[in-house]
């Protein structure tokens, strides 16, 4: 890990780089200023008094510690969790910890000393925990060594707690702030000598610490991407051709001539038009008044119905695009005493982050800068360099905490590309591009649509002898990562059905099993959406298993347990949910339970839902109990917050989520028709964390996939009929 160049000369030049970039207007230099305003540059200079002990830890003379964060904060609490892990090994005073972001430009300049910066796939903590903890431990060792050198005692005789170093033998104490300068000059310890703490001994990590980033979310002072203000800045609103793949044919600029504040109409690549004005509202109002003629192209006749037909065809097509199999499922089902068959479907979904897509870009003669709420600032940096033509070494991206991400703000930096294209017409002038909600809904990378045909065979005793699952749907990789499709096989779409342990393993043993994916792509762009593809695959598997269990005349929990003997972690989580969720205990009249379990993002999830269905078919979810084994639980309160949030996101998808396509374009362009669940519909959520501390799993996404199936299975219990398509708003239950 810490391949730190040692020696004071190298260190000095590194700090010079840091401060220099701030003064030059780079903003966020290893200090906090996002915006190069005079006051904040002063703050950055004052920062120079702080000492970088290593890449992760900066110590100030007042003993406060600044922990560097490379991952993106979008509400999931990663800043707090990562800081806890570093602070745990550092043995500093948690009450004196703050954090600062590093930029991708700094990361590049220092040979990616902070590792990967992308934040998706619930990887923020699990894939960086080892090196950030080692960073904290290395800094602690250096600080202790510096004290030992000063006192001329063996380092082994020192102890440390809360940033206070003690030599018991001579009853001397000192603090991190006092030895930091000397520590920074020492060689980092040999990686082999770093011993990380046993989680049993954690004092900061593993505890429900308060978030470090709550305060400025309470008084409006937090700056989001849409709030960026830079000297001389102009604002842009944009409309991309509503039909994906279409182009701009013409627009009548004269119709908006003389409108207040408007500076320019810009064609952005060949498919979009932007208006630049002194304020965003003026830009947006002018854009709405601008007549634009679109060349809608060949996709203008596509509809939800034509897409459904295409998917349906895939359910029986000959050629498949990836599978897993054991035994002969088709034959086993044919010869079974009882056969069950069903077709399920899930729609396109928009991310609908509360903060719409935006980016602010400033292009100067030899430099390109962008202020981006991004899940992947290194992708933002690459997009900035590629679109501007400025060499990457002369680019930097200042990440701003996101007003929601959910997968939308990761690899696809379309908004950065657009902002750069617009900024090219305004050299030296910062351009803030903000999408309207309608644009955000019209040009998402949607959760992939799919249908799934499932067949099962039961023997005379009601045992599952064969299971055949065929998913026909759109591929994320086909559009965003073609290299992920190997030999025509795209296993990513079968997430949650894997045989391999560790990431998204199916928790059932079936003697004859065939799971297949058939790729059926549409012109609608798709991408990761918090929990893909476990969300859709979880519904298919867990609702169908429920159907099979009921056809077998067995308790749904017992039926699952019988299939899970080889999957103890899956089973333990299912049992935890069942126990805390009072499975099998009496319920008030009219309330029904459903259960589900599934695995994704390295973690095991299960849920029990309590639901009522009124005579008129109105569903109410009263209570949900979710169990999660994410291996290590770094902050139980924030894990609970993620689980609670996953229920809200999952229930919105269950009840309302549906992006319809008509005439080649998206129909549901705002929250009036793309409804989001409100507080009144939120059930009581109980989170059961059952960490086994023998692996590191994700937290942000894993529990979403059990929300819908647990609720649908409870509805099944209430009505006696399975629900096979989402969202519920389109389903007549009684």
């Amino acid at each position: 890990m810490n391949n730190i160049v040692c020696g004071s000369a190298a260190r000095l030049s590194r700090r010079t780089f840091v401060v220099g970039s701030a003064v030059a207007g780079g903003g966020l230099a290893l200090g906090f200023p996002l915006f190069p305003l005079p006051r904040e540059i002063g703050a950055a200079r004052a920062q120079a008094a702080a000492t970088e002990v290593n890449a992760w830890v900066v110590v100030k003379p007042d003993d406060s510690c600044v922990i560097r964060i490379a991952r993106s904060e979008m509400g999931q609490g990663t800043i707090t969790g990562l800081a806890q892990l570093v602070a745990e090994e550092l043995e500093c005073d948690w009450s004196k910890v703050s954090t600062e972001q590093v930029t991708p430009g700094q990361n590049l300049a220092r040979k990616r000393i902070w590792g990967e910066m992308g934040t998706g796939g619930s990887r923020g903590i699990r894939t960086s925990q080892d090196y950030v903890r080692r960073g904290g431990a290395a800094a602690r060792m250096m600080l202790l060594q510096a004290a030992a050198d000063a006192w001329q005692v063996p380092v082994g005789e020192l102890s440390v707690a809360n940033g206070i170093i003690t030599h018991a033998g001579t009853q001397r104490t000192t603090s991190y702030g006092k030895v930091a300068t000397a520590a920074a000059k020492l060689a980092p310890p040999d990686a082999k000598t770093i011993v990380l703490k046993d989680p049993k001994n954690w004092k900061i990590a593993g505890k429900p610490m308060k978030r470090l980033d709550t305060a400025d979310k309470l008084d409006g002072s937090k700056v989001y991407g849409v709030d960026v203000k830079l000297p001389g800045m102009l604002c842009a609103a944009i409309k991309d051709c509503p039909v994906f793949g279409g182009k701009v044919q013409s627009y009548d600029e004269a119709k908006i001539a003389g409108r207040p504040g408007v500076r320019k109409v810009v064609k952005v690549k060949d498919s979009a038009v932007a208006v630049v004005a002194d304020t965003w509202w003026r830009a947006k109002a002018a854009l709405d008044a601008l007549p634009i003629v679109w060349d809608e192209g060949p996709n203008a006749s596509v509809s939800s119905a034509s897409i459904a037909e295409k998917l349906q065809e895939g359910l029986t097509a000959e050629v498949t695009n990836g599978d897993r199999r054991n035994g002969d499922a088709v034959k086993a089902i044919e010869g079974a005493a009882k056969k069950i068959e069903a077709v399920y479907g899930t729609p396109f979904l928009a991310h609908a982050t509360m903060e719409p897509m935006n980016a602010t870009v400033r292009l100067s003669a030899d430099k390109a800068e962008a202020w981006v709420p991004s899940q992947n600032v290194e992708a933002s940096l690459a997009a900035l360099s590629e679109a501007s033509g400025v060499p990457i070494a002369n680019c930097d991206v200042y990440r701003i905490d996101l007003g929601g991400g959910f997968g939308r703000r990761g690899g696809t930096q379309d908004f950065v590309h657009q902002a750069v294209e617009i900024a090219k017409g305004f050299p030296g002038t910062p351009i803030k591009l903000i999408w309207s909600r309608e644009e955000d809904q019209a040009h998402d990378f949607y959760r992939p649509i799919s249908q799934c045909k499932l067949s099962a065979g039961l023997d005379d005793a009601g045992n599952l002898v064969g299971l055949h699952v065929r998913v026909s749907g759109q591929s994320i990789n086909a559009g965003l990562n073609p290299a992920g499709i190997v030999g025509g096989k795209d296993m990513r779409q079968l997430q949650g059905y894997y045989e391999e342990p560790g990431d998204a393993q199916l928790g059932y043993s079936v003697p004859n099993l065939l799971i297949e994916y058939v790729m059926r792509n549409t012109h609608v762009p798709v991408g990761p959406w918090r929990g893909v593809n476990t969300n859709q695959n979880g519904v298919y598997m867990e609702c169908f298993i429920e159907e099979v269990a009921r056809q077998a005349g067995k308790d749904p929990l017992e039926f699952r347990r019988a299939l899970m003997g080889k999957y103890p972690k899956h089973l333990a989580v299912l049992n935890a949910a069942a126990e805390k969720g009072d499975w099998g205990k009496p319920l008030p009249p009219g309330i029904h339970r459903g259960i589900a379990q599934f695995m994704g993002y390295g973690s095991y999830s299960a849920a029990v839902a309590e639901v009522s269905v009124s005579d008129r078919g109105k569903v109410r979810v009263h209570r949900m109990v979710l169990a999660l084994d994410c291996g290590h639980a770094v902050n139980p309160d924030q894990i609970a917050a993620q689980v609670e949030g996953s229920v809200a996101l999952g229930l919105t998808a269950t009840f309302y989520g549906d992006c319809r396509v008509k005439d080649g374009r998206m129909v549901d362009l705002n929250f009036d028709s793309y409804a989001i669940m409100r507080l009144a519909e939120m059930p009581k959520v109980e989170t059961v964390i059952v960490p086994t501390y023998d692996f590191w799993g994700g937290v942000g996404e894993p529990t979403i996939c059990v929300v819908a199936p647990a609720v649908l299975n409870a509805i099944y219990a209430a009505t006696g009929k399975p629900v096979r398509s989402l969202p519920l708003k389109n389903v007549r239950l009684v």
């Binding site: 709550t214 509360m354 007003g403 507080l679």
Partner: protein, 153 residues
């Protein structure tokens, strides 16, 4: 030109009368704590108080607001985050991404002004703002906590 009373200060803003109050607050006045979410009064991210009532500022023309209307934004709710709602929000870490929380806090503060001891049903009816992170459970708890704050509003 319009004259607005925002957070107790009278301000002249030079803007077209049809401009939504939200964008005047954000772009002419420069208070960005009030957020744009939908522009059609659905999500509540733009919630402010006008004469002590919570209003969705994205759907109010600035030309329809007079200098006699007392507008309070999240920045003017309290000094030092001292409003019981802000304290309750902090106590149990309600915010996740935080983008909608200005509006949520303004909605909760208006509810408590009107109904100092709200029931769950009161909260259901008053707290209709959208949160995509799904902080609803903590919002409900925090509203009850704020209602029980003895320092009062």
């Amino acid at each position: 030109m319009a004259k607005l009373n925002i957070n107790g200060t009278l301000r002249d803003v030079d803007v077209e009368p049809e401009t939504p109050l939200l964008w005047v607050i954000r772009e002419q006045v420069g208070l960005t704590g009030t957020k744009y979410g939908c522009g059609i009064a659905q999500c509540g991210a733009c919630s402010v108080h006008i004469n002590d009532e919570v209003q969705r500022s994205c759907s109010i023309r600035v030309g329809d607001v007079s200098a006699n209307d007392r507008i309070v934004t999240i920045e003017g709710l309290s000094t030092g985050r001292s409003h019981p709602v802000q304290k309750a929000w902090a106590a149990i870490d309600v915010p996740q991404c935080g983008y909608c929380q200005s509006g949520q806090i303004m909605a909760a503060a208006a509810l408590l002004k009107r109904t100092p001891k709200p029931t769950d049903q009161d909260i259901d009816e008053a707290m209709t703002n959208i949160c995509r992170c799904g902080t609803y459970q903590r919002i409900r708890t925090a509203v009850h906590m704020a209602a029980n704050d003895t320092s009062k509003i």
